[in-house]
């Protein structure tokens, strides 16, 4: 199955759960553009780590590449995670709070 077919199926599956409207070229082109945007921005952002450590940057890029190979398409999954569900919004808010507190409080010991 080609990447495009895989992509169309993924968008169709997600859409069928969210609404009864048929999947259109508009939906797929949007999701495909979103997918490419996410992949490119993830990889470029990972290069930013070179300011801390080049090795960390390489490891992060390899990690992202593996993540991408095993999880594409990401965009429809990301959309599913960012729907209007209160439980998901609350979960991510609390997760972010935990990560921020942990990274800033304990991370400071290593600065």
């Amino acid at each position: 199955m080609s990447f495009y077919d895989k992509f169309v199926n993924s968008v169709s599956n997600l859409k069928s759960k969210l609404s009864k409207n048929p999947t259109t070229a508009d939906n797929v082109s949007g999701a495909l553009a979103a997918e490419l945007t996410i992949i490119v921005c993830l990889l470029i952002s990972a290069i930013l780590l070179r300011h801390i450590s080049v090795i960390a940057s390489v490891i992060m890029i390899l990690f992202i590449v593996v993540l991408l190979f095993t999880n594409v398409p990401i965009a429809p999954k990301l959309k599913k995670e960012q729907d209007d569900s209160l439980s998901k919004m609350t979960f991510y808010a609390i997760l972010a709070l935990g990560v921020i507190i942990a990274a800033i409080y304990w991370g400071l010991k290593y600065v």
Binding site: V40, L42, A75, A103, I104, L108
Partner: protein
């Protein structure tokens, strides 16, 4: 020297809010009172002289000579509310005034029966964001922000959206996580420093009166940073903010996003002044700004609802503002402030402009729309140009602020950020053109029904005014950057 016009910028909208609520039912009178205040408000911001207003406190410079030498240091502390009115405040208050005036003007043209409580909420919100911007005291800023948050909830409830109560409820629940964390952070600062006045906190920390890396201060930074994400609508709060904008009346959404931008700027500047020395400060801002940019634009790409699409794009644009603060150079902070001013105007233009589509058809589902360029070609072209401004196409204002941001990232040795900024701008352009094609250019669906036949002339006027401002700021960016540059220099 005190200038009594400074507190009037807060007091007049509050009085107006109370009046329109009392006048509910007397539409003509409400319309006039609201319009007069909406016109006076930006005018006051222009004519008020710069200065400091001491509320219930004292002017330290006046009493320091009268105090004994042992108390000289005490005289510099500010126990009351202090309003500081600088040129940067003038610009933002003026722009908020313009957006509120044009949004209300459009609201009046679209509805024969007005709602007193709705207008009350808008004017209370205006008073609160103005006070937030003027205040030099983080506790007062928090209080004013909570009033803004409550007015935002009220504005949603006052809309005709199907899911208005659900959205308002969700915003309150998430606010009950973000708001208390912000307050807790302020509490930690008060416990360590003994003051909530920003100038006093900065003085105490910078002179090492307290240990700048003391655990409670670091904790305060983490909590206030999380609170700032909530205030701004940056991830993880981007979904609720975008839902909030998309559920409001389009002219209400224009005001809501203006409130969010002002809150982001006011708290962003306060946190920058207090915590810029913390080692993780700039990286933390950059990470969340990048997340906002990428998530905002990628989610916007996948929307079928054009109001939700603009809402996500607005969130993505907030990331550009954050990025400027995160890079932390004079040029980048100038670009961030300029971007904030631009976003206020451009997003309002898009909400009001695309809002006319909702006014005509009572739907924002792009699948049900098409061919609307034949109904109002003028509006379609202006909305298209507004989209160009948001994407950063010259000669509009968005181009100027984004090119400054890209330049500052390159100068700071962070070309990756410049590349991401350019990519996100290109994708914003693509998103917008796709939505424009669907709504205006593709063949009109046979079953498309119209609730109104024509767009109100006032809506066209409002969008035209906002577009002219975009063009003026794009051609003459110095009008505002000459004020932002020294301010940013002082901040770093």
């Amino acid at each position: 020297m005190m200038d009594m016009l400074i507190p009037l910028m807060v007091i007049i909208p509050i009085i107006c809010a109370l009046m329109v609520n009392i006048l509910h039912g007397k539409d003509k009178l409400m319309r006039w009172v609201s319009l007069i205040v909406a016109i006076i408000f930006p005018i006051i911001a222009i004519i008020a002289s710069l200065g400091t207003q001491y509320f219930g406190g004292h002017n330290s410079s006046l009493i320091s000579s009268a105090l004994p030498a042992t108390l000289a240091s005490v005289s510099s502390l500010s126990p009351g509310i202090v309003y500081v009115f600088a040129n940067i405040n003038r610009i933002f208050i003026f722009l908020v005034g313009i957006v509120v005036f044009l949004s209300l003007f459009t609201y009046f043209s679209e509805r024969k029966k007005l709602s007193g409580p709705y207008l009350f909420l808008i004017f209370m919100g205006v008073a609160s964001v103005t006070a937030l911007l003027l205040s030099n005291d983080i506790f007062n800023m928090y209080v004013f922000f909570e009033i803004v948050a409550l007015t935002q909830v009220g504005i949603i409830i006052a809309s005709s959206s199907e899911y208005k109560y659900e959205t308002a409820f969700k915003y309150l629940i998430l606010g009950s996580i973000g708001g208390p964390m912000l307050l807790l952070g302020i509490g930690f600062i008060l416990a360590v420093v003994g003051s909530v006045n920003i100038a006093d906190i900065v003085a105490v920390i910078s002179t090492n009166v307290v240990n700048p890396l003391a655990t409670p201060l670091i904790f305060a930074f983490a909590l206030m940073f999380f609170g700032w994400l909530y205030v701004s609508g940056l991830p993880p709060f981007h979904t609720i903010k975008s839902e909030l904008y998309s559920r409001a009346r389009p002219n209400g959404a224009a005001i809501l996003q203006a409130f969010s931008v002002i809150c982001m700027i006011a708290f962003g500047i306060a946190i920058y002044r207090i915590f810029v020395y913390v080692p993780f400060f700039k990286p933390a801002i950059i990470i969340f700004s990048l997340l906002a940019m990428v998530l905002g634009v990628s989610m916007a790409l996948m929307q079928n609802d054009f109001r939700r699409m603009i809402a996500f794009l607005a969130v993505g644009e907030l990331g550009f503002i954050g990025l400027g603060f995160g890079i932390g150079t004079q040029l980048s902070i100038t670009a961030a402030l300029f971007q904030a001013a631009n976003e206020l105007i451009i997003t309002a233009l898009l909400f009001i402009g695309f809002g006319t589509v909702y006014y005509l058809t009572k739907t924002s589902d792009t699948k049900k729309l098409g061919g609307l360029i034949t109904v109002s070609p003028k509006m379609a072209i202006m909305v298209l140009l507004g989209g160009f401004a948001m994407a950063g196409v010259p000669p509009f204002n968005g181009f100027q602020s984004k090119i400054m941001l890209v330049q500052s990232a390159l100068n700071a040795g962070l070309p990756e950020l410049a590349i991401v900024a350019v990519i996100v701008s290109i994708v914003t352009f693509f998103t917008f053109v796709k939505a424009f094609h669907t709504v205006y250019l593709q063949p009109k669906p046979a079953n498309l029904k119209f609730a109104h036949k024509k767009i109100p002339a006032i809506a066209t006027f409002s969008v035209a005014v906002l577009l002219i401002i975009c063009l003026i700021l794009g051609i003459l960016p110095d009008l505002v950057t000459k004020i932002f540059i020294p301010f940013a220099g002082g901040l770093i």
